[in-house]
């Protein structure tokens, strides 16, 4: 096999990313976000982006960095409560926002990466989320039709990856990353440990390399914790 997908760094990885494109960014809160790629995107300066991510970072980290630079035109997310700048831009109308149920968001990404253009879910039936959407009864219960989501670029973060693009995630940093990896026209993975093919057991691969187009080893991971909760030793 010779499918070396390595690129030198985050800046090189973003080649071809243009104004107005749709991006997915993995992560739940600040857990498992592609830190290096977000920083590179802020340097890159691409504007009018549509960003699909479960959250919008915090004011000075994660996708919050791109809100500050006003690079994001539209945000598709499920929960944005940790970001004051986001709330300000949304309430003032500067930022277009589509809030969707978390399970629906995950499944729409999975569908986009699976060749399934639409599906029915009970989430949001009877609420404003279902407005303008087809609803249908199956076996006595009402469901809402939701469409797939796909992205020009998917930015994901894994713990370990090989040069063929096979990925392994760590603990709850997995979250949306494997789903978004599947749904990108170009999927870029940044990893903490980049290894040679064969160093990851095939049985242990979470995301098969076929979904990943570019890979690099990130650096200076900050891995910020939003809510540091601990217990005292007895």
């Amino acid at each position: 096999m010779n499918m070396d997908k390595r690129v030198t760094d985050a800046d090189a990885a973003l080649k071809g990313l243009k104004d107005g494109m749709t991006l997915m960014a993995g992560g739940f809160g600040l857990c498992g976000i592609p830190e290096n790629l977000i920083a590179a995107l802020a340097r890159n300066g691409a504007k009018n982006l549509t960003c699909i991510s479960n959250n919008a970072g915090v004011d000075d980290f994660g996708l919050g960095l791109l809100l500050k630079t006003k690079q994001i035109k539209k945000m598709i997310a499920s929960y944005v409560g940790e970001n004051a700048e986001f709330e300000r831009q949304m309430l003032s109308g500067e930022l277009e926002v589509d809030l969707i149920p978390q399970g629906t968001l995950a499944e729409r990404c999975r569908a986009g990466g699976s060749g399934i253009p639409a599906f029915f879910t009970p989430a949001g039936y009877g609420t404003e989320v279902a407005e303008g959407k087809e609803t249908r009864e199956f076996d006595g219960k009402m469901y809402v039709m939701e469409r797939w989501l796909r992205a020009d670029f998917s930015l994901v973060k894994a713990w370990k990856g090989d040069t063929e693009g096979n990925l392994v995630f760590k603990n709850t940093a997995r979250n949306f990353n494997p789903l978004m990896a599947m749904a990108g026209t170009i999927t870029i993975a940044e990893v903490e440990h980049l290894v040679k093919p064969g160093e990851i057991e095939p049985d242990h691969v979470h995301t098969p390399g076929i979904f990943v187009h570019r890979i690099f080893q990130g650096k200076n991971y900050e891995k910020r914790i939003e809510q540091r909760t601990v217990r005292k030793r007895a």
Binding site: L30, S78, Y79, E82, N171, T172, R174, P178, T229, R233
Partner: protein, 218 residues
Amino acid sequence: MALDKNQIAKRIARELQDGYYVNLGIGIPTLVANHIPPGINVTLQSENGLLGMGPFPFEGEEDADLINAGKQTVTLLPGSAIFDSATSFAMIRAQKVNLTVLGAMEVSDNGDIASWKIPGKMVKGMGGAMDLVASAENIIVCMMHTNKAGESKLLKKCSLPLTGVGCVKRIITDLGMFEVTPAGFKLTERAPGVSVEEIQGKTEGRLVVEGEVKEMEL
């Protein structure tokens, strides 16, 4: 005396049954984990992709890659499992989770719930709440009986955008425990020392009181 948040959590914990898979929302629901009765084993599901959530880590052992849906650092237990967000909501929609406990801003007497948006003022998003309430068979809502202005949160009709319709079965507030029935909120237990009259006065939705309503045991 109205219940405090820990007492609400303690009362909910008595609803746990051995072998349950349970999803606890952010806020008061999270506190339920501190009151699991002896002899009852439950597995906590966190919708960011964790089954078998353990307690907070010891100081110095926090792992940024291991959090719960409230973004708090947590730990794994023997037998824990990690999965992606689609798998997490698959188990929720497929009703593998036995009990869902979550907070709310308003509940109506037909079981509607509003919890994610105050138009023009506060928009945090629904997170996983819409998926949870649309699918769960067994939902307990816990919240304060009235808002900061002293107005009832148990209403005839929710005034805020809905999270789900006709899905709430039981509610525990600082004043009592209620079952959602076709006739309205049926008062099943009173908080210790709280009268039926006080609850009636603070409930805007239809309240059903049948016979003597017992005091809650904590």
